[in-house]
Amino acid sequence: METDTCLQTAAELLAPWAQETIEPEPGRVDVVVAPGDLVAAAHALMDARWGYLTAITGLDPGEEDGRLEALYHFACGAAIVTLRVRVPRAQPAVPSLIGVIPSVSFYERELMEMFGIVVEGTPNTDRLFLPEDWPDGVYPLRKDFRMEQLGG
């Protein structure tokens, strides 16, 4: 399927939950959805066999911004559709996609340990990359992370 057609199909599938739609570069569409709609949106793409979840990126826009962001990138050929979910920094939480994609656990564990975004319902909350003795509440990819937080 042509990339543009792919993107159009995805936009149509996601229409019920799309709060905002952005075209950041050719071949890509970003769709902002509410955390509560994430699972339904992902189901829409996966059930239509639109593509596959290729990565989840966490973003911290900076300490002045009251939010954190999680980006769910779905790929189909050359087309990439990204579901963007914004959550409050004070209590960041998103639902797990484990019911949609059985192999999503690694990505969710990484998001949790690096950004402190709680992924509700994810089956395994062990650290994936960080050591067991890494201090709780210290999220290395947040902008306010400092080496001093690691202690000795």
Partner: protein, 193 residues
Amino acid sequence: MTLKLDQSWQAALDKLKTWARLNSPWAIHFNSGSCNGCDIEILATLTPRYDVERLGIKLQGSPRHADVLICTGPVTRQARDRLVRIYEQMPEPKFVIAVGSCALSGGAFRGCYNILGGIDQVIPVDVYVPGCPPRPEAIIDGVVKLLAKLRGDNPSDTPVVFDPDSAGEAAILAGEDPVEDLAHAQREEEAIA
């Protein structure tokens, strides 16, 4: 297949081979979180082309029987305890070769949050082999220098650093033609088979 080596390098190797047969050190390898580049080159020293075992150093699996610990990597936080425990399990006298820029100082990762910054942040190091990664010739040269130290040739406690003008480079400059050598070795093998 033999390396075509210049005279001084060959002489050093012959001397060492004699000694090594009388004193064959056993080495153990440990990766403390490297990208595997150095490990690939260490592995290459075992393959027929470089064949480090002809020097008498044998790579095996247990720290309890090892004389030499060959380490790569910048020491990630997870690796630290393991590294210490392996070192502690080795009987005296024991020696450590740090291979690669990461093992020396953290290398390109210096300052990254999950690394300690080099093997000598955790255990004492006897030989440092710089490079990212060092060539197998450089690693072998590090082993040769360590073996010389084991024999008592280098009594000082200061670490021995690979000298780029030394015999290792001579081997490279001796002018092998690896593609032809390999093709030749292959034809020879098939003739025998």
